[in-house]
């Protein structure tokens, strides 16, 4: 459906941003899908252990992190909308906002890790923590990577690197960030809630 209020959206034949990033988005989604399925299958032969330790996770920080990432994805989308109107400074402000939320995610997640490590939990404690730490730390590193990209794009936008007719870079960074959020949308319920 064509929304009349927002900018007229015309049908495109390629996803927003550089096609190369989309190739790697698919590769990353594949890796995470494999890790999720292996988690779910490995859980089957030790359900009590998984459920027991899942209860001990701090679900409210998981909630907070989900809200933070969804909101940061929203900020990034507003940034893309802004650059489409040629408003580079507004775009970079939205991007820096998303970057800040990303940093908040790292803080919340970092606090969780600190709590675990303080309790002597490592990759080798048991199967649940092996998967929990592998999955969440692999995603954690992707948030860091996404923030590096967002910062680069925001910096370039601030200095007039993009315009209403040339903003593929912003869309590329946005697509990668959305992928990082998409992965967390599945990771949170899978690891924190489902038992």
């Amino acid at each position: 459906m064509y929304s009349t209020t927002a900018v007229i959206e015309q049908r495109q034949d390629a996803p927003p941003g550089d096609l190369a990033i989309w190739f790697f988005i698919l590769a990353e989604l594949l890796v995470f899908a494999v890790l999720f399925v292996v988690y779910a299958v490995a859980r089957r032969n030790n359900i009590e252990l998984f459920d027991l330790h899942q209860q001990q996770l701090d679900r409210s920080s998981g909630l907070a992190n989900t809200l933070v990432l969804i909101t940061s994805s929203y900020f990034v989308m507003r940034a893309v909308a802004a650059i489409r109107d040629g408003r580079a400074h507004l775009c970079s402000r939205w991007l820096w906002g998303a970057f800040a939320l990303g940093f908040l995610f790292l803080l919340i997640k970092g606090a969780e890790y600190q709590h675990h490590f303080a309790a002597g939990i490592t990759l080798r404690s048991n199967d649940f923590y092996l998967f929990y730490l592998s999955l969440t730390f692999f995603h954690f590193m992707h948030v860091v990577m996404g923030m590096v990209i967002l910062a680069a794009v925001a910096f370039k936008a601030q200095h007039g690197g993009y315009s209403a007719t040339d903003y593929t870079g912003v869309e590329t960074g946005a697509s990668y960030w959305h992928m990082v959020d998409l992965v967390w949308l599945i990771l949170f319920p899978l690891v924190y809630v489902m038992h």
Partner: protein, 89 residues
């Protein structure tokens, strides 16, 4: 920081709020320790739906003609089916 707040709610803002709401629902399920396979599927369905919303609106695949949108939808469905099977069977 918000630009002159668009009076009419932008479609994407509506989507954002919906996803926030769905997140609270998922959290609530976990919080109150509800269980049973129905809820497991429910939580998983919510996650997939949120993923679909994100892919469609935030990633902008809704406006893309070629195979990308069905590809992402298929990804979410297949992954969801596999996880559901692993949790239910």
């Amino acid at each position: 920081m918000m630009s002159k707040a668009a009076t009419a709610l932008r479609p994407c803002t509506a989507i954002w709020l919906l996803m926030v709401a769905l997140t609270f629902v998922t959290w609530a399920v976990g919080r109150f320790g509800l269980s049973g396979s129905g809820l497991k599927l429910g939580v998983l369905a919510i996650a997939l739906f949120k993923g679909h919303l994100l892919a469609d609106h935030f990633m902008g695949l809704r406006r893309v003609r070629s195979f990308w949108r069905p590809l992402l939808s298929a990804y979410l469905l297949l992954l969801g089916a596999a996880l559901a099977a692993a949790f239910i069977l």
